[in-house]
């Protein structure tokens, strides 16, 4: 038996750093990742798809977002099981109970809208732990596990011929530092349930990066199908897991294959710039980046530059800011000291009072005063203007 495990679609998500038309393209790509599940399911022979939470970015979606999302799900063809997560909990404002969703929901879409067992077909059950609020006060997954038959004492024969897949959402306790959070999913309970044969696979959502939890090989975060954050935070997104469970064996061995469906990249880069050569290197590096319009770059720069080099760096950055889907300064990782070099402004062909003014600005720029930054800007501007107003 095969099915697709995915999660954290977060349809309707916006990334505010995206430039102009990049946001619509990014949104379209996210829907495209969902649409891509149809052919993938057909290819791997998946019976159904489980989405382990955060199908939608939030409950307050524009109607258009809901409709287009449902249309994409319809295109998948096989049954799609949606689990309400922390972004789209089954609270009073839930999108899942909205008239629009209810009226437009395709037949192949099933909302796991109550905790516990949902029969997919005889011998195959989903054990859902949906979220009812943004801040649950218990381990929801542990709650549904407790209710399963064959708890503890009857380990081994607990399954009773039924394959069970837990569908949950949230952080597993071993992955987070603040272990006291009540909503954390206890890994021990999960592993115990697996050990006693009550469940055979745990499809988790919440981490946007693909991740196997624990040592059983049966507990997985699928990650989001399209990247949502920079690669230093989300190292392995853009994939869907094709899970195969061999029902013919009592132990129900599991095989998990990752399939890439995402097309975007969110990258964090760091670069040292101390002279014009470094700037040129950076330029080359950026230039060689593929798929610029589907790439978001967060750039951290460190070093010390002359006003002239800084101007050329700015020109370079300006250019790539236009080319990439987003080109964001990584403020935390950026530290460039701009120092006017001696004789840097000697060749401008200016004299008299202009030269005196430049001297003053240079002095200010080299100082540590509040005006230093402005003085650097003024010098850069002077360079630009003196060179014939390239801007």
């Amino acid at each position: 038996m095969k099915f697709l495990h995915t999660a954290d679609w977060q349809l309707g998500m916006t990334r505010h750093f995206l430039n102009g038309d990049a946001q619509p393209r990014y949104s379209a790509a996210r829907r495209g990742a969902v649409t891509a599940l149809g052919p993938l399911a057909a290819e791997v022979g998946a019976e159904f798809v489980v989405v382990a939470g955060d199908v939608f970015e939030h409950n307050q979606l524009a109607p258009r977002e809901v409709s287009t999302s449902l249309e994409a799900m319809r295109g998948i063809g096989v049954p799609v099981y949606l689990l309400p997560g922390n972004h789209d909990p089954l609270d009073a404002s839930s999108v899942y109970t909205s008239p629009l969703f209810v009226s437009e929901k395709p037949d192949n879409v099933v909302v796991l809208d109550r905790p516990g067992v949902h029969d997919v077909r005889p011998g195959l059950q989903l054990v859902a732990a949906p979220w009812y609020s943004k801040a649950p006060t218990t381990d929801l997954v542990a709650g549904v596990l407790d209710a399963l038959p064959g708890g503890g004492s009857r380990a081994g024969s607990a399954g009773g011929g039924v394959t069970r897949i837990v569908v949950g959402h949230g952080a597993v306790d071993i992955l987070v530092p603040d272990k006291d959070r009540v909503s954390l999913i206890g890994l021990a309970a999960l592993e115990a349930a697996i050990a006693r044969g009550a469940v055979h696979y745990v499809a988790l959502g919440d981490k946007h990066s693909r991740l196997s939890v624990g040592s059983t090989g049966r507990i997985w975060y699928s990650g989001s199908p399209e990247v949502t954050n920079y690669d230093d935070i989300e190292p392995d997104p853009g994939q869907v897991l094709a899970v195969e469970i061999d029902e013919s064996e009592v132990s129900r061995p599991v095989r998990v294959d990752a399939h890439r469906v995402g097309a975007w990249r969110f990258m964090s880069l760091r670069h040292g710039v101390d002279n014009s050569r470094d700037v040129a290197d950076l330029d080359i590096n950026l230039d060689q980046m593929p798929d610029k319009e589907r790439t978001v770059i967060r750039l951290g720069l460190t070093g010390s530059l002359t006003v002239t080099d800084r101007a050329s760096l700015d020109a370079c950055l300006d250019r790539y800011a236009r080319l990439f889907a987003a080109f964001v300064p990584w403020d935390k990782q950026t530290d460039i000291a701009v120092m006017p070099a001696d004789g840097e402004f000697d060749d401008l062909g200016i004299g008299g009072f202009a030269a005196a003014a430049v001297d003053e600005l240079v002095a200010t720029a080299r100082s540590a005063g509040d005006d230093a930054e402005d003085a650097r800007g003024a010098l850069a501007l002077l360079l630009r203007l003196a060179e014939g107003g390239a801007a």
Partner: protein, 883 residues
């Protein structure tokens, strides 16, 4: 720039004018007013600045006044390396033509020519200087603004550079300054307020902030609604529990209440039954009592009937007695009435007898009275007769008396007047006197008065005649007359003489007195009744009088004694009175007896009636009792009443028992508990309903929010804010850079300029001292404006200077500027009709100034008074005439 030639054709009032200017030095162009001096300068400006088709006011104004043709301006100008002839025709058939003579010959027409000229001028001429170096009669006398003139700046830079020994600044600086300014103006207005890009970025950020706040609030509203929904849901669950508890309690209490109600029902039923038994008992007891009462009633009635019987008999008896009494009384009354009748008869008889007596006496009295009257009447007739016989009346008697008196008087008169004849008869003799025989006896005397002729005749003896004198005759006549009257009166009276008359009169008076006496007697007699009436009465009395019969007793035939008759009358009257009284008494007695009889009869009848009624009632009661007894005998009734009493007592006992049971259940507290439970349940239900309602409301709200895509809007707003902020920071950085650069550059430039000021001031002072003397100094600011003039240590602000001084200073400043600029940068200095305020001494000194600066540059002076500039030795003069 140099102006070599200027040709105006059909320009304003000028038909044609062609002026060639010397290449250098001062040229004075003179002409009368309105010969078009100023027009020349204006024409040059139009040529250089306005297009041939221009509809500008300035162009329209110069239309020729004398012909319907286009104004035409031609100028030959050299500027830098260029020299060209430039022609334009305005208004009619506009045309532009440019012939560039140097550096190489070129031809242009139309806008191309125009643009070419603009380009050449921009390249080679400092147009600001060109405008600044004019003193126009139309412009106000401001200090020359030379600060923007690059040519001058360049010149000053050169001078300053020499002074400072610094590298000469070139065009680059100026260009840089312009660019800095341009950059600055992208973000700020000239006064330093944010504008366009910078203010737009600020506004965008502000708007984005506002949007974010707005959408965040909208999302917060949703979150709040969700939170409220959760709270309400929780509350509702509690309320449902509460309401269920209340309902359970209500059910419990209701059950208790049901038991109480059942018990109360039983009690009510028992009470009803007890009531019924009681009323049955009451009824049977009443029946028994009634039976007893009926029996007593019959007894009572029988007694009453007996009593009435007795009474009735007694009444009948007394009725009979009364009847007898009445019969006796009636008889007595009849007797009394007959006695009365008898006494009445007797009284009548007596009364008529007395009447007759009275009548007779009356008749006698009347007869005697009549006799008296008749006697007196007779007497009266006799007297009357006597009176009638006498004709004398009182008046007649008076006449007689008067006549007698008159006769007396006449006689006396006659006597006195008449001859008195006295004859004394001596022997008897017969004498006739006047015929009357008279016998006189001896001794007798006769005398007479003779009043008339009297014949005394003694027959035979003598006849004597006596004739009276005349008066005696008259007197005799009146005596005769009086005597005649007396005689007449006497005859009338029937008297012979006066004496008889007087006797007759006395007789008449006596008769009249007698008549009056008799008349009075008669009147007294007939005062009450006339004689006729008396006679009539007498006659009636006589008629009533019985023919003697009445006067006598019929039986005795004796004359009745009137007194006896009167006594009889009194007696009869008394007897009659007594009879009347008796009769009355008896009548009353009879009446009383009748009344008594009627009374008794009534009573007897009434008693009889009562008796009959009582008997009928008695009979009826007897019948009723008999009937009742037929239904139930007295014994039966007694037995029933006893049984009923027993049943009532039993029912009552049951009621008491049930009442106790009920009281044990404490119905009041149960009812209170029930009410309380019901209230509680209702309140719980109401609270639950309210919670449900609130929940529904929130859900509806959320449903609406759910369709609004609020989070999406917030995301969009946040994105916009992010971009706006980035933009803001970027622009801010740039703006601040530009601001800083500009301020630093400006500061340095001003500092530099301050150094320019010295050469400029030096030149102004050099030239100015020619005019104003050696103590002349000026203050020049960094804008190269003259701020104040100092003369002999006294400093006066430029604005406060006199018109002449301002003008002179203005020209000096411009000439100083012109003197400073490099040869290739020089432009003509044009002075239009200036120095009008300048005195002759100053004029001569100004002329020296002109001479002092007259070098390579052109100085064109337009004036209507060429003598003002006569002292300018180097000047060339061109005279204009009105054309």
């Amino acid at each position: 720039m140099k102006l070599h030639r200027l040709v105006l054709t059909n320009y304003r009032g000028i038909t044609h004018r062609d002026i060639e200017f010397p290449d250098r030095g001062v040229v004075v162009v003179s002409g009368a007013n309105e010969t078009g001096k100023t027009s020349m300068l204006e024409a040059l400006d139009l040529l250089l600045e306005a297009k041939d088709r221009s509809g500008k006011k300035e162009v329209k104004q110069v239309k020729p006044t004398h012909a319907d043709v286009g104004a035409e301006v031609v100028a030959e100008i050299s500027s830098g390396r260029y020299r060209f002839v430039y022609r334009k025709r305005f208004h009619k058939r506009p045309e532009t033509e440019l012939t560039v003579l140097a550096p190489r010959r070129e031809q242009f027409t139309g806008d191309e020519a125009h643009e070419r000229v603009r380009a050449m001028l921009a390249e080679t001429v400092d147009l600001d200087l060109w405008h600044a170096q004019r003193v126009l009669q139309s412009a106000p006398m401001s200090a020359a603004d030379l600060s923007g003139c690059n040519a001058l700046s360049r010149a000053l830079d050169v001078v300053a550079g020499e002074v400072d020994d610094a590298p000469a600044p070139g065009d680059v600086d100026t260009l840089l300054i312009d660019r800095v300014e341009e950059e600055f103006r992208r973000y700020f207005t000239s006064t330093g307020r944010p504008t366009s890009e910078w203010s737009a970025a600020t506004a965008r950020l502000r708007a984005a902030d506002a949007d974010v706040a707005r959408y965040a609030a909208a999302v917060a509203e949703v979150d709040e609604a969700v939170r409220r929904h959760v709270t309400l849901t929780f509350d509702l669950a509690q309320l449902v529990d509460e309401s269920a508890t209340a309902a359970a309690r209500l059910t419990r209490v209701r059950k208790a209440a049901g038991e109480v109600a059942a018990l109360r029902g039983e009690l009510d039923q028992a009470s009803v039954r007890s009531q019924a038994a009681k009323s049955a008992y009451t009824a049977s007891r009443a029946a028994l009592t009634e039976r007893r009462r009926a029996r007593a009633d019959i007894d009572e009635r029988a007694a009453a009937v007996a009593l009435l019987q007795t009474e009735s008999e007694e009444a009948t008896e007394s009725l009979d007695t009364a009847a007898e009494m009445q019969v006796a009384a009636d008889e007595a009354a009849v007797q009394a009435r007959s006695a009365l009748t008898a006494s009445q008869e007797r009284l009548d008889t007596a009364r008529s007898a007395v009447q007759r007596l009275a009548d007779r006496e009356e008749a006698d009295r009347l007869a005697s009275r009549l006799a008296t009257i008749e006697r007196n009447e007779r007497e009266l007739g006799a007297v009357q007769q006597g009176v009638t016989a006498i004709t004398l009346t009182d008046a007649l008697m008076a006449a007689i008396e008067d006549a007698a008196a008159a006769v007396g008087r006449a006689t006396v008169a006659v006597e006195q007047t008449a001859a008195h004849v006295e004859m004394v008869a001596a022997a008897d003799v017969d004498v006739r006197i006047d015929g009357d025989a008279l016998t006189l006896r001896a001794g007798e005397t006769w005398s007479a008065g003779v009043t008339s002729v009297t014949g005394v005749d003694i027959p035979g003896v003598l006849s004597l005649r006596v004739v009276p004198a005349a008066s005696a005759t008259a007197t005799q006549a009146s005596l005769d007359a009086a005597t005649a009257a007396l005689t007449q009166a006497l005859s009338k009276a029937g008297a012979a003489d006066v004496e008889s008359a007087r006797a007759l009169d006395r007789r008449r008076h006596e008769l009249r007195a007698a008549r009056q006496q008799v008349d009075a007697i008669l009147r007294a007699l007939t005062a009450d009744d006339s004689a006729d009436e008396l006679r009539e009465r007498l006659r009636s009395l006589a008629a009533r009088m019985p023919a003697e019969g009445g006067l006598f007793d019929a039986h005795t035939g004796e004359s009745l004694d009137p007194a006896a008759q009167r006594r009889e009358l009194i007696e009869a009257t008394a007897v009659h009175q007594q009879a009347i009284r008796d009769c009355e008494t008896h009548r009353k007695v009879a009446e009383e007896a009748g009344k008594l009889l009627a009374q008794r009869g009534l009573r007897a009848a009434r008693l009889m009636e009562k008796l009959q009624a009582a008997q009928a009632e008695l009979t009826a009661a007897g019948v009723r009792l008999t009937e009742q007894r037929a239904a139930a005998t007295d014994d039966e009734l007694a037995v029933t009443a006893e049984a009923d009493a027993e049943a009532a007592a039993k029912a009552d006992a049951l009621v008491v028992r049930l009442g106790e049971d009920l009281a044990r259940h404490q119905p009041e507290s149960v009812a209170a508990a029930l009410a309380e439970a019901e209230r509680g349940a209702a309140a719980a239900t109401a609270r639950r309903e309210a919670a449900i309602e609130a929940l529904r409301e929130v859900a509806a709200q959320l449903k609406v929010y759910g369709t609004e895509g609020r989070k999406g809007s917030l995301d969009a707003a946040e994105t916009e804010r992010e971009h706006a902020e980035a933009e803001y920071l970027r622009v801010q950085r740039r703006a601040r850079a530009a601001q800083l650069l500009r301020s630093v550059m400006g500061r340095h430039r001003d500092a530099m300029r301050q150094r320019y000021v010295d050469p400029f001031r030096g030149e102004v002072e050099r030239l100015g001292r020619i005019v104003f003397g050696d103590s002349f100094e000026v203050d020049v600011d960094s804008q190269l404006c003259i701020g104040a003039r100092t003369l002999s240590g006294r400093t006066v602000p430029y604005e406060s200077l006199s018109g002449g001084a301002k003008e002179q200073l203005g020209i000096v400043a411009r000439l100083a500027g012109a003197a400073l600029v490099a040869k290739e940068d020089s432009v003509p200095v044009v002075i239009d009709d200036a120095l009008g305020f300048t005195d002759a001494g100053r004029l001569a000194k100004m002329a020296e100034v002109f001479d002092a600066v007259a070098g390579d540059g052109q100085v064109i002076i337009l004036t209507c008074s060429p003598q003002r500039y006569a002292d300018v030795r180097s000047a060339q003069h061109i005279k204009l005439f009105a054309s």
